[in-house]
Symmetry: C2
Subunit: 234 residues, 2 copies
DNA sequence: TCAAAAGTGTTTGAGGTACACCCATGG
DNA sequence: CCATGGGTGTACCTCAAACACTTTTGA
């Protein structure tokens, strides 16, 4: 990127590719998005998704992982390609495709210091400010994908700690679907799937009585998946 | 593209983007794929998806439409971005992302002459030969997407003529899902959705008795869609 | 008249949805 | 002892799945 501003001819003459990350988190019953203020011109100081140019010798996936690690310190995070934004005029400076990817992170695990160092902030998903370029559209598309995908695959769990309670899980699905769920039916459905392992511990942060903690049984889940089982939470 | 081979330095130094199209058709009860033999080095003569570099001043979507029109003569075809293939080493010649898009076309409408002129061929989906680079993977991914998407949205209809019979439609779903369906249940389900318009004509190509032709009622469908109706065919 | 595809109803079981009360505990 | 969130059971109804025979008509 160093020569971007010095070598104008080559800049205008080239195709660039950016890996932009839509980073979701879940905290205090809210779905959150990690964004930051751009540090470079153009649009310096504006809110933006976190991204980077894809280097010539680098896989697109690697670029996204690099960005994510740089800003959160996390590796091995759930991340999936959303789609590529390829309008010729989407970036007024030069021709740049954006391969958008969304990530689901456990908000209790990220490196707070690193995040602050980069000028990043967590915003409630329903209060995201105006972002640079087509980034708001990307967030909307990512949300829709998350909603769609969470219905049939247990990806939502990537937003919770490894040990979680049923009420927590229900709350998560409620914010993803934007709809209240009946706790009796939710619990019944979840347990009938046979992929939750009940632990002996309780989480007492939300009530005197405490709620039992569970872990998701990925091993069983993957076996069931092979034989055409489908996880579905409406 | 003309200077690709003359200007080696710039070739190695640049990021390219290709729009590759996975073109599906449906004919004689089979799902088909349109591929062609590469006309240029490298890999000249090998089977390949149809694609083109995305021009600097062109939207990615436009590039795909351009390719599709060039080879089939068709415009206004159902086409959707599949995903971007971005491994650094996916193309041994130079750095090239591929933004893959899949298209569903009515096989009775394409321009046969044009297709032949380009050395293209329709292959049964279960007999596709080895393709160049990662193109076989793209086809697999597109198929999976088609299967997934057809379940909840009436996109399959883009593979049939405007007027179609229920048995034809059933056959289509059978090849997409790779599974036999019960004709009584299928018909019942379809008609209960209230989005098929029965015509007075019959198609007698498949039986003496003839089967009634139907049209899909997109107008009603889109209205129902707004109020949270969901089309679903298992 | 017969072969071959089109078209039609009913029964059953699984699972989604609606709904209200008791339990456990710390302050 | 009580306020607060955690946890449980039942009745109903919808819909998917299984299943077999009649109709039409051109050759």
């Amino acid at each position: 990127m160093a020569n971007l501003e010095t070598d104008l001819y080559s800049v205008k003459d080239k195709m660039y590719a950016a890996a932009d990350c839509i980073i979701f988190g879940f905290d205090s019953g809210k779905l959150k998005l990690l964004i930051f203020r751009r540090r470079v011109e153009p649009l310096k100081g504006e809110w933006s998704l976190i991204g980077s140019f894809v280097r010539l010798e680098e896989d697109v996936t690697e670029a996204a992982k690099r960005v994510l690690k740089e800003i959160t310190g996390l590796e091995n995070v759930f991340m999936e390609q959303l789609k590529t934004y390829g309008k010729a005029d989407r970036d007024p400076g030069f021709r740049c495709l954006s391969i958008a990817q969304y990530a689901l992170i456990r908000i209790d695990e990220y490196d707070e210091e690193l995040v602050e160092k980069h000028g990043a902030h967590w915003y409630n998903i329903d209060a995201v400010p105006g972002l640079v370029l087509d980034h708001n559209k990307m967030v909307q598309d990512a949300l829709e994908r998350l909603r769609q995908k969470a219905r049939y695959q247990p990806i939502g769990l990537n937003l919770l700690p490894e040990k979680f309670t049923i009420p927590q899980l229900q709350q998560l699905y409620e914010v993803i679907y934007q709809k209240e769920l009946d706790s009796r039916n939710f619990r019944k459905k979840l347990l009938s799937l046979k992929v939750l392992i009940k632990l002996d511990e309780k989480d007492k942060t939300n009530s005197r009585r405490g709620a039992f903690l569970y872990k998701f049984d990925y091993k069983t889940y993957h076996e069931l998946e092979k034989i055409g089982y489908n996880f579905e939470i409406s």
